[in-house]
Symmetry: C2
Subunit: 424 residues, 2 copies
């Protein structure tokens, strides 16, 4: 979706690496996005080679793991849960073989097919992302437990034991219209139209093989300080993701997120489990609550994100601290206290949604598309059970949708997504 | 919502103007946003003074006209239609007096009130925009015809004759859940959370005086070429807004958009009429249509945006061109041909939405929040009537919501939004 149009100014050509060197940016560790780069170049009288520019907001499709998990969180998500209507394992395999090069192209910021001059047929690419950059698009594929229960697919013996519909948790009010599914595709990008375009085109290319079961768009507004991404805030204004494992630390990711050899069925090695929960947030009720009660509900200070009684977001929670009366500083019914009572951890990668008004109740239809990644579903289940009935946050939220998917490991060039399952 | 945190690097301080001069950017006409500025500064070994940086993505609240009309279109909208529950004109006036400074603060990227250390009460600002910049937020206020029909408000004699619920157009399938309203607030910003935050806080501050009637979020993905915004594409992949008046040309805006003295009731001088239409787009049907038929439907080429048979987006449409067989090159039933049959023009400022799946039909719940500004409602009505039953585009879209609002003129500092109405 790059362009070769010129702004008509005479400028010397330069590529990204040369420019960074010239500007000395490499030495001060500045992260420069496409726009910034262009600006630096222009101000110095250079014009950046276009292809090179676009490269700066592309995420690599290939690797040991799928993208969209350890990838630095993007601003937008379009999440789709699909039902399959294929009738054999072979047909399902062909679906993933067909999808793989399309996902690669879109993550590269390209249309899914070369344009033809034949206007008597529908264009292969729906076209709404033409002119937009790759926008750090990631596309992540997963399979649900129901896929393995379809006798015609013959996958029963390959089902990981731990891949089951999530148990009912206290206060769940789940709607099947936002729950479960045979397959999932998570598209995340810094542009909402790029994310939506990728899902639309994958589903369209699979016409007659899949149908949409449910979908949810969401956003993340990421505060920047000196070009460094900060922890985003959810619609309750609290930072969400502070306790996450360090996605750049392979050891931590292997411990928390990536399935290791021997942990599960062999085809899941290098994969991960994705939990999606559509959580309605009752903003009007929350907004009538005293700041102190809000902070006691989360166990953190709202503005700084620090543990109660502390000042820095990343300070140790020290759950057992007591005040002068011997009362816990971080209330034992607070969200963070309960979540940390169990040793399990997970990688949260959630997005907010604000879809307008719920016409039945007249309140904002808003909340969180909670997404977490973990190497075993029990990590999420244990934490959610610990929150259980006592979590103070339950007064302000309602879980409306729930799903779990086994996300394949990553692949090398020449392979196709899901190959480990179909080779097994 | 600026921050004073430092990245710990030792850099010379510089302000925006000094930097632009130093970098020579002024001389090449480069538009530099906050991120780009920061990057230029860093690469040259400077650190931009924070307040100065933030200033670059603020829109001015005060002026002859409200913001959010001639403002360069932002990436996100949150549009709210409200019902009033006030019981007197005085109370309504107080509502706008209360709202004005809040809107000013939020457009400046500030919280609506200074933070207090009293945690026994709810925080005045809901807080989810803390750490985010002003993001070019604009807040635009308007009033609907129903407001003037409330006897308790005594506004009947101030109602502009032309402010009426829009007539029924062929193929309208309107839902009152997305139509009409006593007041509207249009919040547009380059960040979705900043836009939503502003609406949420204005409604919350008006608790007991207004209720939400309907709301719609939307986005615009704006292709950039050499830092210059290009016409965005709608979800049918066609450029939307090509024929717009030049918002930087005062004459054109006075002719098309801004109510002139004598055009309407005196309090509307400098104001404009906002038409909002929630238009569902049947993507699956569209995607099965040949590219040639899609182009004949719009009357333009999809990729370039050029009139059929031409190559440049902004080339003259020349509606009467015929091919070698004497057939019109731009079909007379095409959207653009019909729209241009009447002399009326308007400023379109629309946003796409993709809200997930419609559970009743299993198709994407996606489309366009069409918004147009014009000095008289008849401009929109004439064009829409010309599209009428013949517009080929009607096969692919359904109008689900409709509203029209009279947007006040702008104000000077010290005044309050809507003052011209309450002084009248």
């Amino acid at each position: 979706m790059g362009t070769n149009q010129s702004d008509g100014l005479l400028k010397k050509k330069i590529n990204r690496r040369q420019l960074l060197k010239l500007a000395g940016a490499g030495t001060v560790g500045v992260v420069i996005g496409a726009t910034g780069l262009n600006t630096v170049a222009s101000s110095l009288g250079y014009s950046v080679v276009e292809d090179d520019l676009t490269a700066s907001n592309k995420v690599l499709f290939y690797g040991n793991h799928q993208s969209g998990v350890a990838t630095s969180v993007q601003k937008h998500i379009y999440f789709a849960s699909l039902s399959t209507v294929v009738t054999s394992k072979e047909e399902l395999k062909e679906l993933f073989q067909m999808w793989t090069p399309l996902a690669v192209k879109m993550m590269n910021g390209e249309e899914i097919a070369d344009r033809t001059t034949n206007t008597y047929v529908p264009a292969e690419d729906t076209g709404e992302a033409v002119g937009l950059s790759a926008s750090n698009l990631t596309i992540t594929f997963g399979v649900g437990s129901t896929l393995f229960e379809k006798p015609e697919l013959g996958l029963a013996n390959l089902k990981p034991e731990e891949l089951k519909v999530l148990p009912h948790f206290p206060k769940d009010q789940l709607d099947e219209n936002y729950s479960n599914g045979d397959l999932c595709i998570q598209a995340c990008a810094d542009d909402p139209q790029v994310a939506f375009h990728s899902i639309r085109n994958l589903i369209r290319a699979a016409s007659g093989k899949v149908t949409l079961k449910w979908a949810q768009a969401g956003f993340n507004s990421i505060p920047m300080i000196k070009n460094k991404k900060q922890t985003p805030r959810n619609l309750f204004a609290f930072k969400d993701g502070t306790g996450n494992p360090d996605v750049t630390n392979a050891n931590e990711m292997n411990e928390v997120v990536w399935v290791q050899s021997g942990d599960s069925v062999p085809w899941m090695t290098g994969g991960t489990y994705l939990v999606a929960r559509k959580i309605q947030m009752h903003l009007e009720t929350w907004d009538r609550t005293a700041l102190g009660d809000q902070e006691a509900t989360f166990g953190r200070h709202r503005d700084s994100g620090a543990p109660l009684g502390k000042t820095g977001e990343f300070e140790d929670m020290e759950l057992n601290r007591t005040d002068s009366n011997g009362k816990p500083v971080v209330p034992i019914t607070s969200h963070v206290h309960l979540a940390k009572q169990v040793k399990d951890r997970m990688l949260r990668r959630s997005f907010s949604y604000s879809s307008g008004m719920d016409p039945k109740t007249g309140v904002f239809d808003a909340g969180l598309l909670f997404i977490s990644f973990q190497k075993h579903p029990k990590q999420f289940i244990n934490i959610q059970n610990s929150l259980g009935r006592v979590d103070k946050l339950n007064e302000y939220i309602t879980h409306r949708g729930s799903a779990i998917f086994a996300c394949f490991p990553g692949i090398e060039k020449g392979s196709f997504i899901g190959e480990s399952l179909f080779k097994a």
